[in-house]
Amino acid sequence: MGASTITMAKALNNGLRAAMERDPKVLVMGEDVGKLGGVFRITDGLAKDFGEQRVLDTPLAESGIIGTAVGLAIRGYRPVCEIQFDGFVFPGYDQIVSQLAKLHYRSQGRVLMPVVVRIPFGGGIGAVEHHSESPEALFAHVPGLKVVACGNPVDAYWMIQQAIECDDPVIFFEPKRRYWEKAELDESDRTVVLPLFRARVLRSGSHATLAGYGPVIRTCLDAAAAASSSHGQSPIELEVIDLRTLSPLDLAPVYDSVRRTGRLVVVSEAPSEVSVAAEVAAKVQQHCFYSLEAPVLRVTGFDTPYPPSGCEQDYIPDLDRILEAVDRSLAW
């Protein structure tokens, strides 16, 4: 099988299909995931090919989706739950925190919880309230959960399969405004596969480091390209790292990078206070204290509820805000 150009949405769809073909215990469940194929079409065609007993159009109740997935996992199934939008996960948060995250610990390993909760997250699609949030810190803070975010179609294809194979519960964040971005994917090429809980260096650079995850990865790469081709002044080479895993964090590549560049800007769409970006900053100052030439800076969403979508181009970190922070870091 050769490479083909594929969207992130289709890559996720293919990844789900591959996992379902491989293991009959894998179930897909959520609101509108069957005939409709999900509101973003991520599960398109799966109900037709695998039947309604493996692709469950569920009643409209998020606690029910997670709570029954917990029971199905006890029974030996590997449910993949779709939460339709980030802002709708909270009715299911109790089951995620109280049961899904804790049963392995409570049972001292006798009960496995191989459940994936897929959550389309982040803004940029002009949506109404509750459809554009970045709640990942609320999950990364919960012991017992693992939390990842894919940032490109190739990772999306492999990471969803790895998440399904993981025996721990994985909260799987998908950057919804990147669903339709394309990349070359060769499903038979395993040289591009990293373990699930590893960060990835996407671009090398010597002047400063950018670290982010999910929807801002594209923005970071664009910023690095722009900095490198700056006209009229000497180019700035930025190293770009896709964190990919938010719990556990894999910061070894970030430490390596910061020890060379001395400067780090963490980029995320979520509010900055008590965030994943804050944790990265704290750990980098602890591990790279003598290498830092400037304080770790953060470029994030603001500490507000997600604004009306008319303001979102100002809310979401863009290329200019990232480069402005890089300039501040370099000028320190």
């Binding site: 007993q53 569920t58 009643p59 109740a61 606690s63 029910g64 997670i66 709570g67 029954t68 997935a69 917990v70 029971g71 199905l72 996992a73 006890i74 029974r75 030996g76 199934y77 009715p91 109790d94 089951q95 109280s98 049961q99 804790k102 049963l103 392995h104 610990y105 409570r106 049972s107 001292q108 390993g109 006798r110 009960v111 496995l112 919880m113 191989p114 012991p143 017992g144 693992k146 993981c166 025996d167 721990d168 809980f197 719990s247 556990p248 964090l249």
Partner: protein
């Protein structure tokens, strides 16, 4: 949400007291009963056949079960009073509901308890000593849920109703439910209380189990009190009638009648095994002790109410029936009493000998696939900890 620790409300108003007495007075005309509080058999053509096999030997066994779990419960309560347990959740008064339901289960069935189901645990072969760790702070549940087919205690009110529903959906997906399954089919039973019926998860469990035809028996022990709140604070209608709104059958059984509870639960499980689930059972009973050892019922209910329910004691009616109908000898009752004292002594000895968990336990089995960050945190703390050792 009701607090597990059970801090009491202020003095009840007269209206609250009257409401409590009214709610707890009688089970109403739909109450299924096979053994009256006076120990006499009650005719019920619908449910009698489900306990046709209960001869004097089996009745003796049910009596023994109830006496032993009550004795273990009282000993654990005493252990808390003596500072050996940080808290205990008494089952006093609910022995018939739990033994009746627990003995209705077949080995292949799965049970999801709340946190008061010590009697059901007994029926699943879990020794009372295994319950102590939760309340002594040495574990969060020591038994194997797969081997015992008894899930761990769930403390967040109502969560287990969705987990049980999901499990039961799996039983159906596995082809373990249907017309031909009869004795070998599987069912799930889920325990919760009257307070839990206000929780969204219980409603969602009813909805999901109905639309997926999940083989789950929802077994609500209505013990009349959710810590300090009487039943009227949770519902306008009798709880068993709620099932109708979700599209399945609901039955109210005398939860202090072990025979009726056994019969109704056997029927309900068989309905589920043969594809006619879910079923709601409301076991009408009474919490004769406090919510937990941290609670003080004298602040919200009258002592007279307890006196009323003592007349309906679940164990006494079986004892009377055994004596009057079967001419049971005092020797049998003395033997069971002696056995229960032996059990209590064993429970006490076990409790006192339980080792304090080591600090490694904090970090143990958080994940199936270990986290390098957590491993590093553990190693750092254990190194710090060992720096104090000689």
């Amino acid at each position: 949400m009701a607090s597990f620790l059970g801090f009491a409300e202020p003095e009840p108003t007269p209206q609250q007291v009257i409401a409590g007495l009214r709610a707890t007075a009688e089970g109403g005309e739909d109450l299924v009963q096979l053994l009256s509080p006076e120990g006499e058999r009650v005719t019920d053509s619908r449910f009698e056949p489900w306990v046709a096999d209960v001869d004097v030997d089996r009745l003796r066994a049910l009596y023994r079960d109830m006496v032993l779990v009550r004795r273990a419960d009282r000993e654990a309560n005493a252990l808390q009073r003596q500072g050996q347990l940080s808290i205990w959740v008494p089952l006093l008064g609910q022995e018939a509901a739990q033994i009746g339901a627990g003995r209705a289960l077949m080995p292949q069935d799965m049970a999801f308890p709340s946190y008061r189901e010590h009697g059901v645990a007994w029926c699943r072969g879990i020794d009372p000593t295994e319950l102590l760790g939760i309340f002594r702070g040495t574990d969060h549940g020591s038994w194997d849920p797969h081997a015992t087919r008894f899930h761990l205690y769930t403390i967040v009110i109502g969560n287990q109703c969705l987990n049980a529903t999901g499990y039961a959906m799996g039983q159906r997906f596995d082809g373990r439910v249907g017309d031909g399954e009869g004795e070998t089919g599987e069912a799930t039973i889920c325990f919760f209380g009257d307070g839990a019926t206000s929780q969204g998860d219980v409603h969602e469990g009813f909805v999901w189990s109905a639309v997926y035809d999940a083989p789950v028996v929802f077994f609500c022990q209505n013990n009349q009190w959710a810590i300090s709140e009487p039943l009227e604070r949770q519902t306008r209608v009798p709880l068993y009638q709620r099932a109708r709104g979700y599209g399945f059958l609901g039955v109210r059984v005398d939860g202090n009648d072990v025979l009726a509870t056994l019969a109704v639960t056997r029927w309900a499980l068989q309905e589920c095994r043969t594809g006619n689930g879910p079923v709601l059972i409301e076991a009408f009973t009474y919490r004769m002790d406090a919510h937990t050892t941290s609670d003080d019922p004298s602040r919200y209910r009258l002592a007279e109410e307890l006196e009323l329910w003592k007349l309906k004691d679940p164990i006494e009616r079986v004892r009377v029936n055994l004596v009057r109908t079967h001419g049971e000898s005092q020797e049998f009752f003395d033997e069971v009493a002696a056995e229960s004292d032996t059990l209590a002594a064993r429970l006490r000895a076990h409790c006192l000998a339980m080792p304090k968990p080591k600090p490694e336990r904090i970090f143990s089995e958080v994940y199936a696939q270990s986290s390098p960050l957590l491993d590093a945190q553990r190693d750092e703390y254990l190194a710090y900890h060992s720096s104090f050792e000689e």
